[in-house]
Symmetry: C2
Subunit: 255 residues, 2 copies
């Protein structure tokens, strides 16, 4: 299987509009971060998208991706769902409603935020989604076993997703001991890390992630959902403990 980072940025993206800091003005492509999303390619070349934020169209075009078989949503925040309307070309081409897997709560929010996709008589050219409610237990789709990992993000629960020996967790500031059981000794752990120092009410910061790396002992850990406050990619990446890396847009991992 393969995982490609379509975006590794926090909710405002990097650069931030109007910001003149050294990260936002860096010319290194690794310092340009779309909103966090990944594309999983299964053994049978099926495509599983995790999250569909505002950069979805650009992410698909830049990565020459032409298909999504199913989408998994981690939670309902704007930067993880608001690109759903841009799935229309894929929906029109396939002639099928786009299958979306998420919490019941997230599905309800999608219905509120894209009401025109769920009316009995739809506007010509409206998108069409097939919502699948999932709970915190493993499920199989596209011949692929997927294990949700429930984490806490400020005041809400968020699903991370585990495939084989890789787990992708974005938007967490707390993981319970029960859920940590699913994350022991992974080959690859992907974790959100918004900035370097100051604690954040909804996101891990670098010291939290280093502590989790030591505790959970994945072979490799990649940081994502990164803000401009984490610093320049090439400098910060070198300073991380061995086995830890900053992810960047376009990075591909085989697992």
């Amino acid at each position: 299987m393969k995982l490609k980072f379509l975006g590794t940025g926090t909710s405002q993206g990097v650069p931030v509009i109007g910001c003149t800091c050294e990260v936002c003005t860096s010319e290194n492509p690794k310092d340009k971060r779309f909103r966090s999303s990944v594309m999983i390619t299964t053994e049978e070349s099926r495509k599983i998208l995790i999250d569909c934020g505002p950069d979805f169209r650009e992410q698909m075009l830049l990565n020459h991706e032409n298909n999504v078989d199913i989408a998994l949503l981690t939670h309902e925040h704007n930067d993880h769902v608001i690109g759903l309307d841009d799935m229309r070309p894929l929906i029109f081409k396939s002639g099928k409603d786009m299958p979306i897997y998420c919490y019941h709560r997230v599905g309800q929010e999608i219905k509120k935020r894209f009401p025109y996709a769920f009316t009995d008589v739809r506007y010509p050219g409206a998108p069409a989604f097939e919502l699948h409610e999932i709970e915190n237990k493993p499920f199989k789709v596209l011949d692929t076993e997927i294990t949700p990992v429930e984490v806490i993000h400020y005041k809400i629960t968020v699903f991370g997703y585990k495939f084989k020996n890789l787990a992708y967790i974005t938007d967490a500031n707390f993981i319970s001991d029960t859920e940590k059981e699913k994350l022991q000794n992974l080959d690859v752990l992907i974790l959100n890390c918004i900035r370097k120092f100051d604690p954040h009410p909804a996101h891990f910061v670098l010291p939290d992630v280093i502590a989790l790396f030591k505790e959970l002992k994945p072979k490799k850990l990649f940081l994502t959902h990164i803000s401009h406050h984490l610093g320049l990619h090439d400098i910060e990446d070198k300073d991380l403990p061995e086995g830890m890396h900053l992810a960047y847009d376009g990075l591909e991992i085989e697992f």
Copy 2:
């Protein structure tokens, strides 16, 4: 005053994800069209944004735009409003709610689609908007006189906006005789044109726009809200009647 086209594409943008037609695979930057939006710069260098679609962040970054003083919305369709959350960096920097001018109906829809921006207790980092309901009569803001022009788009009304002797109309398939009075003998008329031939239930197509050009007699007419079915920019632009042009992303007009 100046008007800059931040986007000149229809709701799916050009290229369309997964499309291999000659327009979608063209390497001419004029064939790459973000969703329709323009930035007006007033005599006092204030910034008026018209519409805030999914490409808003990219449009601001690519055009080195760092500020929006007010936003005018034409209507509530996804490709014209769904980027509003990406105004957050501007809202945080100014410390003020972003003023948005639109129909009452559109304001109600914004409240539904961005509910977390209108709750009494907001999530940390949520955007904040100041909604101003407008009607079909001239109003003055930022020392600038703005005249709405009400047009029909399938089954809904949409506002075009006129500044001095320029009018910007996107998403129309019908303009009443009363509203046409506002559009006589303009210096610049900007009109939506989705494709070349087949009639469309919600948008003007090229023969409609050519007929309006002859009827309303603007000195110049620019087409916007263009799909890949209109053809290659450089070829189609040459074939238009004298005084008519395809707009393209980044085009700037002084008026």
